[in-house]
Each structure stands twice: as C-alpha cells, then as structure tokens.
Symmetry: C2
Subunit: 587 residues, 2 copies
C-alpha cells in the first residue's frame, strides 16, 4: 500500500547514467568515479533540501479529523469515518452572502500573488465564477497560500468582506474573502499551458504580436487544461443544453427515445466512409446514421422516435467542419397527409432550442462570446421555407453581387500591399489565388441550373443573400431534384423530377438533410433499381415496410454543428470535448 | 419513375425454369415445349385473374383529393398539394368521445373478421390501445374491409357508438366505431408470425401443448413484427422512461450531460473483451466504458457529469445477461468529504427512477406483466447499505438454508419422476446435475471467506437472503476487498485491505459497480504498480489528475439490465430493440 503520496521530484541528473565497464577501475577511472560520487552526493543533498523546502511549503499533513489543529496545510480526502459537516457555498452565490458572514468555499487557485512576506492574494475559480481571497492574518499561512501552484484545489474558510473598490478581475466583483483557514486538497504540477494564453481573443492576438498564440493541436493535446477556459466551459454546458432542449420538445409531443445499434452486419448506406470492426470471426461496421433503424422503429409501432448518440464517418478529410465521430440528434415521425408536418415539428424544435439557449444559457453564451465574438442568431418562427428552384433563383439573381463585393475587397487588399517584397509575396499569391477562385465561382453562380447541386461555397453565398433579403440565419429548402437525393426519398406526386425532401440551414451551412421516406417496398425497389442501388445489404430495411407501413419522415443534426454555427465558431473541434479526426484519437 | 406500385404476385411456377439446349428442338422436345407453353399460358391466366381479384379487393385507387368520391379504397400518401384538414383522434382517447360524434382514426387492422357478405368487424390498434370498428353500411365496403390483411394501416371515419355489452377483446371496451368510410394506406403482406403467438404467456403455453411457442431467435429475426406486441411496446416505452427519469434527477442537481468518444487509440481498460476497428492506416478500439472520460471531464472543471450512450463488450458468451452492445447510463461527480455522498445521489436517483416507473409508466408495466408476470419491486428510500464483509456474513449464515430448500425442491422433483423412462431419463439427468451443483454451492457458501469474491450464484442467494431478512430487492454493498477491485479504486483510509467501493444490486443481480476513484497521480502509479498494471496505454488518464484534482466517484448501469430486472424478464435480449450478441448482428 502506498502512503499518502508526494509528487515525484525529477532530479536534473536523471538520464545521465553511463555504462559501467565490467573490469576493475583504473587510477584515472577511480578519480573520475570519486568526482562523480561527490557530484552525486551534492545533488542528493540539494534534492533533499528542495524536498524539505517543498514539505515546508506544503504545510502540515492533515486529515479531516486533525485539520482543526492548524489553520493551513495539506488535506487528502480519502473518505474517513470522520466528516466535518461543513457546508460549502458555490462561488456564484457569494455575492448573496452578507458581509461578516463566515463561509467555506472549495475552488481552484486561478491566480496566486504574493505581496511581501505577510500577504497573499488568490483568485479562486469554481464553475464560471471567480472571487478574490485575501490571506493576511498569519504570516505562515500567507507564505503557504502564496506558494500554492496555480490550478490547485483548495478549501478556504473566511469572512465575506466588501472590497474598497469593485474587483474588475473577478466575476464576484463586490465581495471578497478574508481568509482564516486554507487547506490544499490537490497540488497542481507546473502547467504546460497557461489559461490566460488559452483564453485570448483574435483581437488581442492581433493587437499584441508578442502574445502567445496557442495552436488548435496544442490545445487538444492538453485538453484537460484547455477545457477549463471560460469559453470552453460555456461550450460544454451549451451542448448539454441543446440536448436537453431537443428532448424536452419531443418528449412533450409523445416521442419515444430509442437507442439503435452501432454495430451493423453490413455497410448499410452506400458503404463508403464506413469503419470496419473485427467482430469475433467476421466483420461488422459502425453505423453512419441511425436513419434506417429510426424508420424501422416506426414500422414497429413506436409513435415518433428520437435518438442522441454517436455517429461514425470514416472520412479522411481534415476540414474545419468534419470529425470522424460526432453526436447525432435524430428524429423520425409518422405524419398524416404531408411531410410539411415533419418540417413544422422541426421548426418548432429548433425555435425551442434557439430560444432556450438565448434565455437559459445566457451566461454560457456570454462566456463564449468573450473569447469568440459573434452576432446573435437571427431567426423567425415559423421560419422561412423555400423550394430548391427558388433558392437557386435567389442565388443566381443576388449571388453575383455578393461575390463581386468579395472580389472588390480582395482587390483592395491587393492594391494596398506595400513594396516590402519579403512579406507581401506570400500574401499576394494567397490573395491572387483567392481572387481567381472568386472569379470562377462568380461565373458558375451566374449559370447555376435549377436542378444542379449546390456546393458548400454556393450555400454560403445563398446564406448571405437570404440574410440580406429575408433577414434570417435560419431557413428550410424543400423539393430537391430527384438526382441529388438517395433512393429512399419520396418523389413529388406532381412532378417526379423533384422530391419530398428538405435541407435546413444555419448561417449558410446545411445542418439537417431529410425527407419523406418511401414507405412502400415495391416503390423502394423500383427507385433503387432506377438509381442502380443494390438493396441486398439492406434487405431487412426493405422488409420492414412489408407488413403495413405509415407515411413518415425525419432528419438528423450534429450536436457539434449546431453549437458551432449558433456561436459562429471557427472550427468544429472546439465544440467536442475530445474530438476525433483522421489524425487524432486522443486523449 | 415507378407508378404507385402493387405488391409483386409470386407465381408458384417461379424457379421451375430449365436449361434450354442450344440445338434445334426434336419432335419430342417440341411436344414438351408446347405442353409447357400451354401450362405457362394457363398460369399467366390464373395470375391475371388473381391480380384482377386483388385489384377488386383493393377497391378504387384514390388520392387525398379524390377520396371523397368513394367511401372505401386505397390511398397512397405522397404529400400532395391538397390536404384534407382531417383531425385524427388517437384510439386511447376514443372513450372520451360522446356517442354520436364522428371521428377519423388512423390505426392498424389487428384482426379482421368477415361475417356473411355484408358485415365486417375490425379490431384497430394504435399505441397500446385497441377499438372495434363495425363495417355494415355498404356491402361493397364490408367486402373491402373484410378482405384487408391483418396489420395493414387504415384511415377510418365513423360514428362513436356504444356496444350492447362491454367488448372484452379491446382496451376501449365501452365504445366502438360504426364505419362510414374506410381507406387502406398500406396493405400488409401475409405475416410470417402472428401477434397472438408472439404474445402468449408461459402459463398459456403450459396449459395448451398445441399452442405455438415462438423461440427467441425467431422473434429476433422477425423483430419488426415481434416489437408490435403489447409487452414489447411497454418495454420500449419503459426504456425511454428510465432515460428520462435518470436525466431529470441529475439535471435538477446541476449535472452536465457529456458525450465521450467511442473510438479510442488504446484498449484502455485492461484490453480484454475489446473490439478493434480499422481506423484509416492504424487500429482503434471501441470504448468498453466511458469511465475514464467521465473522470477527465470532472478534472476539466465540469460540475458533475452523466452520459447515456452505447458501450461495447467483445465477450464471446451467450448468457441471458450478456450483449455485445448495450446502453450505459453513467454518472460521475465530485464530493466534498466522503464517497457516501455519491451513494446518496445514486440512491435518490434510483428511487426517482423506480417511483417514476411505478407511477408514470403504470400502463406500460401492466402491458409487460400481461405476458411476463412479475412481482412489483420492493425497495425503500434510503436503501439498505451494508459492508461487503457483512454481506458475506449474511450469505454464510442464511445462504445454506436457501440452497438447502432448493435441494429439497429438486429432490422432490426427482422423487416425483414417473416410470416413463423415455421422458424422465433426460429430466432425471438434468435434475441430478442441478442437485450436484447445488450441493457444491452449499459447501462453498458455508466456508465463504470475508474477502473472497462472490460469484453470480452467490449474489443470487444473497439477494434471496436479503429479501427474506430485510424485505428489499434493492441494496448497496460497500467496502469491497482490495484484491477484487481495479487499480484506480481508492483504498479505505483505516484499513488498506478494503476499498472505498460499492456495488448496487437489484433482485440479486449487480447493476452498478463503482468507487471513489484515486485522484492523486502518484498514488495511482503506486497502486497500479502494486497490482502489476501497465499504465502506458492510459497515460492521458493519469496526467489528467496532475493539475489539481477533486475527490470524486461514480458508476454506471446498463439500461437494458435495469429494465430486465425491474420487470424480472428472463432474457436481456427482450429489452433491446435490435440486440447484438456474438451470433447476432441483424437486423
């Protein structure tokens, strides 16, 4: 059994050992060995001294039952029989406490500042809130507190006092704690990254060229510390909120929550981009979507279903929008007469989510906005719905103007390039490339056909056009061309060149793709044939419609995409706690 | 484009084609060919006649805009521009409708009974409810209705009437529908399995040796139909309820919902029973538990976390308790001074779930109970908590009595075996085997040591002992021996032979295994060393505790296990919509 352990002190001499010869030492060798022994003894002495100093800094080692014997020290919580019955106040509630009241607080030491030998100022952090703690009463206690490493976990007892002026550095700006007792529960090692550096905005980085810019890869490799920033705390809580709001709306409408299998016998949808699993002595595949199973659940008489679960895509691409594993929020429901019933439910659902985020997650949104400024989402309820051909018409009509303004901006940047060749050469190349891309895009938009696919850049331009013409960031496009949709999509009854399908857009990016699904097995068979799709691997899916099938539709949205686009974040990896991409499987 | 399709009529002659020789036909051959051609023509004629009859039975083909032209027929819902504005009443609300009121109902034809040529009785099913519909007004309509295949989807319009006596065969026993219009939206093919057969109880099967017993494998291979039984509808809705109640309790206490990665770089926990994934040009592994990531989320400052998500176990065993993929309900939380704070939260959570199921899911429970009779769960809140050594003492003290009663029962069965050798030989062997197992178990229980592992059969006996001595099916066992728990389990502060750990039991089966986790990296390292665990693959986990760590604990429970044990179901596969085991990956 280990004693209450002390973090290992790494000696500078580590790794300096040399191979020792087997033969007896020579005179010269003896001298060298003696010198080394002396050196080693000196180092050991130094290490012992450091350890002694360290022990002094850590104060007395206490337990819950002995902590009354000293106003400061180290306490390791191991669930002893004795408990103190202390009541802890969350930092966010401190401003409600009357001055003079004594409180216990458990928090992290966000900053530690020693002032002289008898005074220490701590900023304590808990949840999205911070408070200042002043350690002044006992010099030894001030020394102990002033030596606490940043990000350590402490229990602090003290009196609520009112600072002479508002504390701008803390969210609790009109109270502080006059510390009477302070105990360290967990001593942090030296941090590989500083929270200040992780929290900087683009504007701050631009204003101060010497400020440390932490690359995304570095963040993700130190994710436990990175996640402690206010913005990331906001993002993680907002994710939880989106899930809660999604379910709240659907459970209220008698939907049933389901969990569909992630291990499949066949690569169901097409077969591209699917991960293969070694399943005992055969192969299995990871589900790329719960769609077929959601539909089968409806055929098994569930009223309307939803699922929140992982979705796996073996896409070997490293864009700002792709991950190999993400969280899908999926729903599927029967409708009575028209698939617009499904769209109306989705419209209500997104309205409920957006409205809920704006009201119940205000604090989290502001924490995100501090580091990643964004404009509030514009949406109306019911939302704008337009047919694909009308969306294309909007793109053709107003898109060129949007792209021309982008070209003008690039030309202005080009004209403004100084004569400093060393720097501007690269920039000029980049701008020229951008300009030629825009010119090509301009030409393609001008002649975009009604039934032609829209690419990501078309969609982004369309988003700006619709923002300008309809003042909204959220809209639905319906009736996509037959060739652009999968075999299970119901064709329009009036014109089979179009389908009963839809995409939903947020800030110019598609977040949902869905449709009325074909619920007649013979029709599924015919259309799959027409599209050249082999139905053998999905026979169970086709069979599900043979024993009485209800008309139905649905769709799914990536949790991380909703969060990213709602807050206009630059990269989807920022919205996943531990993101996965082709290069990253850790931590 | 396919027309509105008609189910394919499979001719009996299919598959009878023979190889045709390349050489010209001989006289004999010609005669044979002529005979075959005649046979084929006759068959085609018969098929055409059948198709004609079928078309007649299906009535006129209508759309939403033309359905007014006929009181019956087939309607295919393809989302036309025209919608009727009909309001549909769920079957469960029909008893609230006044007699004489006209209603639209969309439902399945659970049974179809023709009586003479002018009358048809339908039992319509929707959700967990059924109602009788009487088709009598128009002879052609009665003929149409009487020919509807079971499980078809229909729209029925009619008047609410009061039947002369209560309808015992329907959940809506005091109303029926006098049908004025009836349309088939989706015609079911002949069913491979009947719902009556799928719904039979063990008692009914025992009482009627001729009744069809549907094997589990057959059920699962026809799962879409199997899931339509009342019991399965109850089970699927109860699953949704357990998830909702679990979250409700935790969100109320400021827990944050998280989603941890399922694709991992290393086989984190031990490495046995893990599925391997081909991840581009390297290997990945499917998560066997979210535990490490839950803990890391706490170290990243989330307040308390939970996750509902899939868990993958590559266990090549086919017991009634194991699946290769199941749904984990996991939580992890910091505590202030003692891990019993975690146990208290779990106690409250289970109480909330059990209580919620008993009150809000009464109808679902009764639907399950009709087919799988069970006694209501007995539990108290706060629940019984006992230390491992005390649990062992109970087992040693009272377990032998329980096992002896089982032995006596087996001996009675053996004594009662008749002289019919052909049947009793197998039975005798089985009973003799059972008896010798019980005798062995009896001996082992008598000498069970305080720190010795309990097997599944020990746990079941303990469950019966505790039910008898403490009148509860739900309890927690704490302070497990050090050797029986994983390296990350915090040892007890007063005696390192025991740990701050716990299992939670439901009807004698373990449902949660958890502990206070070690939050000190040096201590983790020491204990892993002592247990001979290589920490290299989980370095990121160890590192997560280096930068200030809070004391914490948690645990997880399988959704399917909770449902199975709450209802005393015989096999966990019954509780999963599409269960996965080593032999089954479909549908």
């Amino acid at each position: 059994m280990s004693e209450h352990p002390v973090p290992k002190v790494v000696s500078a001499a580590d790794g300096e050992e040399e191979d020792e010869a087997v033969k007896g030492p020579s005179k010269k060798e003896e001298k060298r060995l003696a010198k080394e022994a002396a050196k080693r003894a000196k180092e050991e002495e130094r290490a012992a001294l450091l350890a002694q100093q360290q022990r002094e800094l850590e104060g007395p080692k206490l337990t819950l039952s002995t902590m009354d014997s000293s106003p400061y020290g180290s306490v390791f919580i191991q669930s002893e029989a004795f408990t103190t019955g202390r009541v802890f106040i969350p930092v966010r509630e401190l401003h409600n406490q009357a001055a003079g009241k004594k409180v216990w607080v458990r928090a992290r030491t966000q900053t530690v500042r020693k002032q002289g030998s008898k005074l220490a100022f701590l900023v304590l952090r808990d949840d999205l809130e911070t408070v200042q703690a002043v350690v002044a009463l006992i010099p030894e206690m001030a020394k102990f507190a002033g030596a606490l490493p940043k990000e350590s976990v402490v229990d602090v007892y003290g009196e609520i006092t009112t600072p002479p002026e508002l504390l701008r550095g803390c969210t609790q700006s009109n109270v502080e704690i006059a510390v009477e007792r302070i105990y360290c529960l967990s001593r942090a090692e030296a941090l590989p990254l500083q929270l200040e550096d992780l929290s900087r905005t683009e504007a701050e980085l631009a204003a101060d060229p010497k400020a440390v810019r932490v690359l995304l890869e570095t963040r993700l490799s130190n994710r436990i510390i990175d996640l402690r920033t206010r913005a990331n705390q906001g993002i993680m809580r907002m994710q939880s909120g989106v899930c809660t709001l999604f379910r709240e709306f659907l459970l209220d409408r008698d939907f049933v929550e389901i969990h569909t299998p992630k291990l499949l016998a066949t690569a169901s949808e097409g077969g591209g981009n699917v991960f293969q699993v070694k399943y005992f002595d055969r192969a299995a595949y990871l589900a790329q979507s719960p769609q077929f199973y959601k539909q089968m659940a409806l055929m098994a008489d569930l009223p309307g279903v939803f699922e929140i679960g992982p979705v796996f895509r073996a896409e070997n691409s490293l864009t700002h929008r792709h991950m190999t594993e993400f969280v899908g929020l999926d729903l599927e429901m029967p409708f009575k007469e028209h698939y617009h019933e499904v769209l109306n439910v989705m419209d209500g659902m997104f309205n409920h989510i957006f409205h809920g985020l704006m009201t119940k997650y205000r604090k989290e949104l502001e924490a995100i906005r501090e580091q990643y400024p964004f404009e509030d989402l514009k949406w109306s309820y019911p939302c704008l719905k337009l047919e694909y051909k009308d969306a294309v018409n909007l793109l053709v009509q107003h898109g060129p103007g949007v792209i021309e303004s982008d070209i003008a901006a690039v030309e202005k940047d080009l004209a403004g390039l100084g004569s400093d060749v060393s720097e501007s050469d690269e920039t000029r190349k980049r701008l020229e490339k951008r300009k030629s891309e825009l010119l090509a895009h301009l030409e393609s938009v001008k002649v975009h056909k009604e039934n032609e696919d829209m690419g990501t850049s078309d969609e982004k331009v369309l988003g700006r056009v619709i923002r300008a013409t309809h003042d909204t960031d959220f809209y639905m496009v319906t009736r996509f061309p037959f060739e652009l949709r999968p075999f299970y999509t119901m064709p329009c009854p009036d014109d089979p060149r179009w389908t009963n399908s839809y995409d939903i857009f947020l800030r110019g990016e598609e977040i949902v793709s869905g449709a009325q699904r074909i619920h007649d097995p013979a029709m599924l068979f015919d259309i799959a044939n027409a599209k050249g799709v082999d139905l053998t691997p999905v026979q169970a899916y086709i069979d599900a419609f043979k024993y009485g099938a209800v008309p139905h539709g649905g769709g799914g949205v990536g949790l991380e995409r909703v969060v990213m686009l709602f807050c206009g974040l630059p990269n989807i990896r920022l919205t996943s706690m531990f993101p996965r991409d082709p290069n990253r499987l850790t931590p």
